[in-house]
């Protein structure tokens, strides 16, 4: 792991690696999504939820990814803060909007799922509320980054905030759980094996892998864009002198 990171620290090697890794991951995401959606739409209707159960294949991976991307954001911020890695900072900056989109997608699809199932667009239950707070963490990160004109200072301030959030997210999650539990409990990773039927589990797994690959691809593309932007800015300032 550390060796892989050390390999990627070098921007030239990173650019060479990502130039072929990003399209491959993107193609993988599309392929997995096609298979996952096909299986998802041909799966039998749930005996309780009917057709609406298919929202799960969009909704659940988005919620997982929302959390996973925050871990990536926190890890990258740690590397940029402690080891002053410019590339790690580019990765953190690139991850934040993606995470916000996944979290937003989880909120919107959850709301669309809640209307037929619970009869309401939104309930203040534990899962929804903690995903909502996660969304606010992403917004705060991006707002702080955008509001500080000095780019290096803004990057470090945002990295500190990301680490504060990393410590706080488990606390928020647990406190919200303590506050109220109405959402259905753990299903896929429940103790004593999964309680979901395999007709639903396989497409869910495929969709999750597809989301992961899609995130990886978009992340690499965004980091590449960030590296190009910085090179352009550096060239511009050289020319100005």
């Amino acid at each position: 792991m550390t060796q892989a990171l050390a390999f990627l620290y070098n921007p030239h090697r990173f650019m060479a690696f990502s130039a072929w890794a990003a399209p491959i991951l993107g193609a993988l995401a599309l392929g997995l999504a096609t298979a996952g959606l096909w299986l998802g739409f041909t799966a039998p209707e749930d005996y309780q939820q009917g057709d609406t159960v298919r929202i799960m294949f969009i909704h659940v991976p988005a919620a997982w990814l929302g959390l996973f991307v925050y871990l990536c954001l926190g890890g990258a911020s740690f590397l940029s803060l402690v080891f002053r890695q410019a590339l790690a900072d580019a990765a953190a900056r690139a991850a934040a909007p993606l995470g916000a989109v996944f979290t937003g997608l989880a909120l919107v699809t959850g709301s669309l799922w809640g209307k037929p199932m619970w009869g309401t667009w939104w309930v203040w239950d534990a899962r929804l509320t903690s995903v909502f707070v996660l969304f606010l963490f992403y917004l705060a990160y991006m707002a702080l980054r955008a509001a500080i004109d000095d780019e290096a200072k803004g990057a470090r301030a945002a990295a500190i905030l990301a680490l504060v959030g990393l410590v706080n997210i488990p606390v928020v999650h647990w406190s919200v759980e303590w506050w109220n539990t109405l959402h259905q409990g753990r299903t896929v990773f429940a103790a004593g094996g999964s309680r979901a039927a395999s007709v639903f589990l396989v497409p869910l797994l495929l969709m999750s892998l597809s989301y992961m690959a899609g995130f990886g691809s978009l992340w690499l593309v965004r980091i590449r864009g960030e590296v190009w932007r910085r090179r352009a800015a550096a060239a511009e300032s050289r020319l100005a002198r």
């Binding site: 000095d150 200072k153 500190i160 303590w178 506050w179």
Partner: protein, 221 residues
Amino acid sequence: MNPALGLLRREIAIAWGRGGGLMVTGGFFAGATLLLPLASGPEPERLAQIAPGAAWTVLALSALLGLERLFERDYEDGALDLMAHASLPLEFTCALKCLGHWLATGAPLAVLAPLAAIALGASPALAPLLFACALAGGLAFAFTGGIGAALSLGARRGGLLTAVIVLPLFVPPVIFGGGALHALDSGLPWRAGFALLGAYAAAAVALGPLAMAAACRNALS
């Protein structure tokens, strides 16, 4: 004079005087409390139900008020630079600033919060717990709020940004305090919520200054 005590006294004086202090935060607290029955109707039964939670929410919002002044003035006039190079560690200085802020604004609000809740129709039996929750919660609000204030140094629209950063961090203490109050109100055991609130406040006091000092050094660099 002991430098730490001197600094604490200075922070309290700044937070309390010069147009800050109880007149402003207390006025905001009273005004926001006033809006609630005006907006939701004056029926006593309904108000009594939401009174403890409303007082607790208004308290959390009031804690945002003075945060902008916590580091911004010292940053602009150069005092923060001196503090960063003083013999006291910057972490300790940040902790003292938050402590002074809490003593000058958070602690007095803890007296006002039970009054507001009772005025809204909460049972007077809730008053001691609300007072204790407001004291512990105020400490948590001051120390997590300090992180937001230090991070938004040098940012455009710093005050608004501080609120956006800090409000998600206020979620756990608001839940724990509100949970304890609700439990006492409905005759359930309330100690767990209060203990968790205290734990969050203690963690904020212990860890918050590290983040604040890192953020101040970054802004000064």
